[in-house]
Symmetry: C2
């Protein structure tokens, strides 16, 4: 038998965190039961988001890019900064999982990892992520990027418009504009800056939404024209997607049926 | 002052899990200090993986698809089942974050969400995820899918070869084979089955790797031919990616410079 007072008990289990507090709190008849908030549950989405500094997050994303690639870069900067504000158990998130998205997923050239990381962050931190995803994808397709110059950049800033959210095309278009090869150090620095640019834009959008500003996005007119036949409710309805069709299909347009 | 024995103490804090055990264990001078393993840290990758049942995981992925789309479907089935084996704090992972990947990321038609979920799961659970990602992407591009028929399927099984890991093209090719529209209930059921098929393949690969079997993958010969000029070390080196080029570029091949 051990003799122990309440203070000793709390001291003994002090490092165990909110789970213990909750266990003690719900014991019937204790005075603290009503006052103790529930233990935070990181499975409940969205996580509480407090506006972040876009410039600081941009630099953090570029820095993280050099640790584990582009998707980790944008995601870790936004969600890592938020998790640090929230503390445990949010900080338990396995951030390095996002390394998989590097180079359009392990170098496959599919979705730009910086965009994918931002989209995942939106789903985690926003009550209405869909509009934010659409907004950042359209912005990425249509904006000369990267529009962020990281500290310590070694090469001249060169921007290009990707016309697509896909890594492969985005990289090839930049390399054509910069007259650099796809595995050059200049291209690698460019993708680090892209991680920063995308993370900054993502934070700007999250902050706008948190301030109850409306987020509206329109797909490009040329894509809307294609989609009027090929997408939902069109005469053909044989396509699903929101990418700007011309990002891949421009060489086909000469063969397209007349009258469209 | 409260009188309490050790058994009561353990009973009181029983719901608090490993954190408490560790806190008690590291108190200096206790006999258990050396024997207690450190508290598990879900940030340390890979998470401990124990082989799963591919058929059960396939069905779980399809069921999860109907909760939060394709990326959630494959990821939740594989990682959720693993997290249940591992317990807290692994189960804290915010699984619903993966909803963002639905329809190639919020309907954009980029990377197939089922594939993206599998790739994320590989990064989380495998000591060597890169080879697994390549293996499942090549399999997805070249196999008639879905090769999994979920319980309760309402429509006849129809398979197609996507030729690409991208959602938009994968869906359009299946719709052409099935003569169904892209927003039909048949197409939706097909994507649920794709989530199951991909999750099953992912578990087979994880189990093979866990059994120390070699995982080897070769990109299609036609893609290797393109890449010999356009990819790393080629005369042009103006592309980055591993996708089968013909998935998007086949209409361009008639215009390609002669001699290739």
């Amino acid at each position: 038998m051990t003799t122990i007072n309440r203070r000793d008990l709390v001291k003994m289990i002090g490092g165990a965190g909110a789970g213990v507090a909750a266990t003690l709190a719900v014991r019937p008849g204790t005075a603290r039961a009503a006052a103790t908030p529930p233990a935070p549950n990181p499975q409940v989405l969205p996580w509480p988001y407090k506006p972040l500094d876009p410039e600081a997050i941009a630099q953090r994303a570029t820095d993280s890019y050099y640790k584990a690639e582009c998707m980790y870069g944008s995601f870790e900067a936004i969600v890592g900064a938020t998790a640090e504000q929230l503390g445990a158990p949010y900080k338990d998130f396995p951030f390095l999982m996002m390394k998989y998205g590097g180079g359009g997923i392990n170098g496959w050239g599919t979705i730009c990892g910086a965009l994918s990381g931002a989209a995942a962050a939106f789903q985690l931190l926003s009550p209405k992520p869909d509009g934010l995803i659409d907004a950042i994808f359209v912005w990425y397709e249509s904006t000369a990027l990267p529009d962020f110059l990281p500290k310590g950049a070694k090469f001249p800033e060169i921007r290009s418009v990707s016309g697509t959210p896909l890594c492969h095309t985005s990289i090839s278009k930049w390399c054509a504009a910069a007259q650099k090869t796809t595995y050059s150090p200049e291209r690698r620095e460019r993708c680090g800056a892209i991680a920063g640019a995308v993370a900054r834009k993502a934070v700007l959008l999250l902050n706008e939404q948190a301030a109850a500003k409306p987020i509206t996005t329109a797909l490009p007119a040329v894509a809307q024209n294609c989609m009027s036949c090929h997408e939902r409710g069109g005469a053909l309805e044989n396509s699903r997607g929101k990418m700007n069709c011309g990002g891949c299909h421009s060489p086909m347009l000469g063969k397209h049926p007349a009258g469209v």
